[in-house]
Amino acid sequence: MLEALFGSVNRERVLMFLFVRKEGYSREISRFFKTDLSQVQKQLERLEAGGVIYSRSMGKTRVYGLNPRYPFLAQLQGLLDRALLFYPPEEKEKLTMVRKRPRRRGKPL
């Protein structure tokens, strides 16, 4: 949807994922979109080098998110928010409807 603007469909996917989910790691993003892991990693590296996203290590995993210090963050979020309106309902639901609240270990479903 924003591919023409962002230059790559995977870059749009990475940004949209991080916008909606707040944080994510490369394997999680590539699995979600059923796309090549190395392509996602490449986009994450580029976006981080450009200051658009940040990363931090969490155990053995590198977690990424939109950089709150990026000067065009509000505009970028506005654009992604607008684009999300045009996503197919099922994809939008898959992206947004994820359990975030804690679940105690061993709790029966």
């Binding site: 450009g50 200051g51 210090r69 000067p71």
Partner: protein
């Protein structure tokens, strides 16, 4: 000219900044290196973050720095004679969502250094505290405030724009106290 091996952080930053300027590359020192300079190295940084005023090609930057003996390694430029290394993070020059309008200039025997003003340096550190809850960054902001004149009202206005007024109010007393020591 002083050898790179014996240059302090400020001297090296000024040397690089002036050299790049002669190659048509205008850049501003930001980040922890500014804290080092404004606190007389009470906080020591080895990372010299320069932000270019206008985008320059990496090739042009590399050519200019190669003349000084710097070698590009990943995103950094390193020199065999010094522990300090250079990085050129992506611009624009901003603190949070606000563009940096006025910079400071310091003269060293090695050249002229363009860097963030003490007030902007404090904002830059506070941005890290506001967004990452980095207490070390808050400590650095207070150190800069202890050693330099800063504009606390300007910081309040900026914090409000960053939607962090409540956090600013919670540390305002510490900033005022730090300024008293100046």
């Amino acid at each position: 000219m002083k050898a790179i091996a014996s240059m302090s952080l400020g001297e090296l930053a000024a040397f690089v900044c002036s050299h790049l300027q002669t190659h048509g590359i205008n850049c501003v020192l930001t980040g922890g290196a500014c804290v080092s300079i404004y606190t007389g190295n009470r906080y020591q940084s080895y990372d010299l973050d320069f932000i270019e005023s206008a985008p320059t090609s990496r090739k042009k930057l590399k050519e200019a720095l190669t003349k000084l003996g710097f070698v590009e390694e990943n995103r950094y430029f390193k020199h065999v004679a010094t522990e300090f290394f250079l990085e050129f993070p992506a611009g624009p020059l901003s603190i949070g969502s606000e563009p940096v309008r006025a910079t400071a200039v310091m003269e060293f025997s090695t050249g002229k250094l363009v860097l963030l003003s003490p007030t902007d340096c404090v904002k830059d550190r506070l941005a890290a505290y506001y967004h990452w809850s980095d207490r070390q960054a808050l400590g650095q902001a207070l150190l800069v405030a202890e050693n330099n004149e800063i504009n606390i009202e300007e910081i309040r206005v900026w914090s409000e724009k960053e939607d962090k007024l409540a956090t600013f109010e919670s540390i305002k007393k510490q900033l005022i106290e730090a300024q008293r020591h100046y």
